[in-house]
């Protein structure tokens, strides 16, 4: 090899405490170094030109630059050597600024250390080899998992940007939690009026295919080329024929089917369309309550259906789609408040969740928009709201703030007054968290204009008294105990990670945090990326979020997917693991430890198991290399030999008669 070494003065940044000329002299004596020099600013235009000229003049096939941190200028110098015709991996850097000149005062020691670092770089470079990035084409299609407002936004933005979109929704209709809301804060505009048109756009957009009542079963492949298997659950209705006319739902005699859309307040029919604005507006049968499917008797829906779309024999169906990017927008679930014994564990029908209250407020809800309490249908006069039910409470393992409960509680207090002018709302709160445009003003309005009484303290107990509930809590500002007689108690239940999140995370190789929320690539700078290339996050699956933030993230995730797939071809980093099949004994330990699923087992011609790296999926961490006892899988650019060369450069083996070379 013919190696050139370039020692940078970085003005006086390095030269001030390192004798650069001496380092040049020492470096010139290192193995295979044919050229060594120093320059004032190696990264500058003339500095880079100096490298290029030297490569040509001295016929160099490897370059070491000793200057600043490679985290700073490695890409710069790699481009420079590439301009001179070398492979960019035939380049090494020695960090003699951040790690030497800036932290050590003793010039002799610094000089010595700089020379050592250059020797290390030279020894490693001697074992480098040219690496070439692979290019591959991508599928211009995006999978959006979850049809809540974040997923809807991501899907529409991707589709408008020209990509095909596949949306998978677990429930019968898209719309998510937002579709269940009556109004939204802080504008008090009608939730379904804002969301409805976007849902219709999903149904009508020619680039979007929607799979409702479906779940992602498995994902294989890698960025740009994922293969996704979707399970379409049997609905017992042929959706290609169903017109959503609703005749079946009117005639269905089984009217005791649980109604998840209305948060289990009241019941619905076994065959149903969850709500009038549902997208897709198709009927589906709940097999658990359908008499025909349970007992074989009935069959009325099949008789009344004008298009003959009822199919009691329908089975789950698996569909495979190829996509280039995946947006995860699986949203959240509500905390199960029954974990708090002090709220009655479900013994009192008039203790309900905030989302149930939304359904009571909603004109399309089970009470037609009249607030009637579940126990006796009476209109409540005193409504008590309890905040932080499953938020900011270590005792139930929910130490985090759910973020939007303060706001929707204020909204519900306002709406309560609108619905029942002679009502009185009480809100037990811990702190009011209203950081957002118009948010704090909104909570003030709830108190000042709508007369909601805010009590700062936790509720210790709810107990029945007559036909009322007595809510006992602390008023920490007054330093006293308070008891409020309530006709209805609304619990501001906090946010939990969606139930299937952990399992989906395993499928997608996206890590959930300890609470089940997906972990983003970087908390500040890569909020919608994940550590799996090509998989993006939108909305509350990453952490509690309100509607505007979820929509913003939906657009952000779409922008990332559009950016990724706007390139004709993607390039993979060649510094990835590589298997020497001769050495591989097929024990699959590397496969088990790879965090990215980047290694798969293949069978060779002899029928023996061998590991194979999917170069485009491998992120280059090197966990596998350490896992493999026979060193059969090696991380390129950081091979055992390269690192050992550095170790041996720093600690030359003593008194061994034979050197390592």
């Amino acid at each position: 090899m013919r190696i050139g070494v370039f020692i940078c003065h970085c003005g006086s940044n390095i030269a001030g405490t390192v004798d650069c000329e001496s380092v040049v002299e020492i470096a010139a004596g290192f193995p295979e170094v044919v050229y060594a020099t120093d320059s004032m600013y190696t990264c500058s235009e003339p500095g880079q030109e100096g490298i290029i000229t030297a490569i040509h003049e001295h016929n160099l096939d490897g370059v070491v630059v000793a200057s600043c941190s490679p985290r700073m200028h490695e890409p710069t110098f790699r481009r420079a050597v590439e301009r001179a015709g070398l492979n960019r991996y035939m380049f090494e850097m020695a960090n003699i600024r951040e790690h030497v000149s800036w932290i050590g005062k003793d010039k002799a020691h610094n000089t010595n250390k700089a020379a050592d670092l250059v020797l290390m770089a030279v020894e490693k470079l001697r074992r480098n080899r040219p690496l070439v990035a692979k290019s591959f084409t991508t599928v211009k299609k995006v999978l959006v998992i979850g049809g809540g407002v974040a997923g809807i936004q991501a899907a529409l933005d991707c589709a408008d940007g020209g990509l095909d979109v596949v949306m998978v929704e677990r429930d019968q209709s898209i719309g998510g939690k937002m579709a269940k809301l009556d109004k939204t804060f802080p504008t008090i505009d009608c939730s379904s009026c804002v969301l409805g048109p976007k849902m219709v756009d999903i149904a009508q957009h020619e680039k979007i295919s929607l799979y409702a009542c479906s779940e992602v079963e498995s994902v294989s492949g890698y960025v740009g080329n994922f293969s996704v298997t979707i399970r379409r659950r049997a609905t017992y209705v042929d959706w290609t024929k169903c017109t959503g006319c609703g005749v079946c739902t009117e005639k269905c005699p089984s009217k005791r089917s649980p109604d998840p859309f209305n948060e289990f307040l009241g019941t619905t029919t076994s065959i149903n369309i969850p709500f009038p604005q549902a997208i897709p507006k198709k009927a589906a049968i709940n097999p658990d309550t359908c008499m025909k499917l349970q007992k074989g008797k009935c069959g009325i829906c099949a008789k009344v259906c004008p298009v003959g779309c009822i199919d009691y024999e329908q089975q789950d169906e698996l569909v495979t789609v190829e996509v280039g990017a995946i947006v995860v927008a699986t949203g959240y679930d509500l905390f199960d408040w029954h974990k708090y014994p002090q709220y009655g564990e479900g013994r009192y029908p008039d203790v309900i969740t905030s989302l149930q209250y939304e359904r009571l407020l909603s004109a399309s809800g089970p009470t037609g928009g009249h607030i009637k309490r579940p126990s006796d249908g009476k209109e409540p006069k005193n409504v008590v709201f309890i905040q932080c039910v499953g938020s900011r409470d270590r005792s139930v393992d929910r130490p985090y703030c759910s973020g939007f409960c303060c706001m929707y509680t204020a909204k519900q207090a306002i709406l309560t007054k609108d619905h029942i002018p002679d009502s009185q709302s009480f809100v037990f709160y811990m702190d009011i968290r209203a950081p957002g445009k118009g948010y704090d003003e909104f909570t003030r309005r709830a108190m000042e204009e709508y007369g909601a009484q805010y009590v700062r303290g936790r509720v210790a107990m709810i107990y029945p008294h007559g036909d009322q509930l007595i809510v006992r809590g602390a008023d920490t500002l007054a330093g006293t105990q308070v008891e409020v007689p309530a006709d209805l108690v609304v619990l501001a239940t906090g946010v939990e990670a969606s139930q299937g999140a952990v399992k989906l995370g395993e499928t997608l190789r996206v890590v959930p945090d300890q609470f089940g929320f997906f972990v983003e690539s970087h908390p500040k700078l890569k909020p919608v990326e994940t550590n799996t290339a090509g998989v993006y996050l939108a909305g509350a699956c990453q952490g509690p979020k309100d509607i505007p933030t979820s929509v913003g993230q939906g657009s952000a995730a779409a922008a990332k997917a559009l950016g990724l797939l706007s390139k004709e071809q993607l390039e993979s980093d060649p510094a990835v693991s590589k298997v020497n099949v001769n050495r591989c004994v097929g024990c699959q330990k590397c496969i088990d430890t790879c965090p990215f699923g980047a290694i798969k087992a293949v069978t060779d011609r002899m029928g023996r198991l061998k590991a194979e790296v999917i170069e485009t999926v491998c992120q280059g961490c090197g966990i596998c290399t350490v896992t493999c006892p026979q060193g059969a899988i090696q991380l390129e650019h950081f091979t055992d030999n390269q690192i050992l060369a550095e170790v041996n450069a720093l600690c030359p083996p003593k008194m061994n008669n034979v050197s390592f070379e």
Binding site: S69, R71, N95, I103, H109, I623, V626, D640, K654
Partner: protein
């Protein structure tokens, strides 16, 4: 530590992951946090890339100390690398005593890219520790005389050893 000892450098090898600790060392440099100069850093992508045998090789080659640093648990750029590293490195650290190599010559810790000050502290403390321990003994005999003595002792000893009297 006498002034003279302070002058003489010992050989300390550092293995740092690129994303957190190498960045932390850069941060310390940018902030001009003065550190002892004994340490030389080998950059690896992830603490999960560090084979405990690199550390053994360095120690057997005569390194006076080896310091490993990676991302804090849960912060690994590769999600799980430092979790594997922690197990491997802990096992090495616990194993060293049986070899007679002072386990204090090896340490592993976590430093994030923002923790320049912590890096300075880690380097300073570890270097101080290694200077207190002094130069590591050589595993191989260091002179022709010792080689000869070893050969003679071996011959005299025959098959006897600590366990198999």
């Amino acid at each position: 530590m006498s002034a003279q000892d302070e002058q003489r450098e010992l050989r300390i090898v550092g293995f740092l992951c690129n994303w957190c600790s190498y960045g932390g060392a850069d941060t310390a440099g940018v902030a001009r946090f003065i550190q002892p100069t004994d340490l030389r850093i080998i950059r690896v992508p992830c603490s999960g890339r560090i084979d405990p045998l690199f550390i053994v090789r360095a120690l057997l080659n005569g390194a006076d100390g080896v310091l490993v640093s990676g991302c804090h648990p849960r912060d690994c750029h590769y999600a799980e690398g430092n979790f594997y590293a922690r197990r491997r490195l802990e096992m090495l650290k616990r194993f060293l005593p049986i070899t007679g190599i002072d386990e204090r010559r090896f340490e592993y810790t976590w430093v994030s890219a923002s923790e320049g000050q912590r890096w300075q502290h880690v380097v300073t403390e570890f270097t101080r520790r290694i200077h207190e321990l002094g130069p590591a003994p050589f595993f191989n005999p260091v002179s022709e005389e010792e080689w000869a003595k070893l050969a003679l002792d071996g011959a005299a000893r025959g098959a006897s050893c600590a366990c198999h009297g």
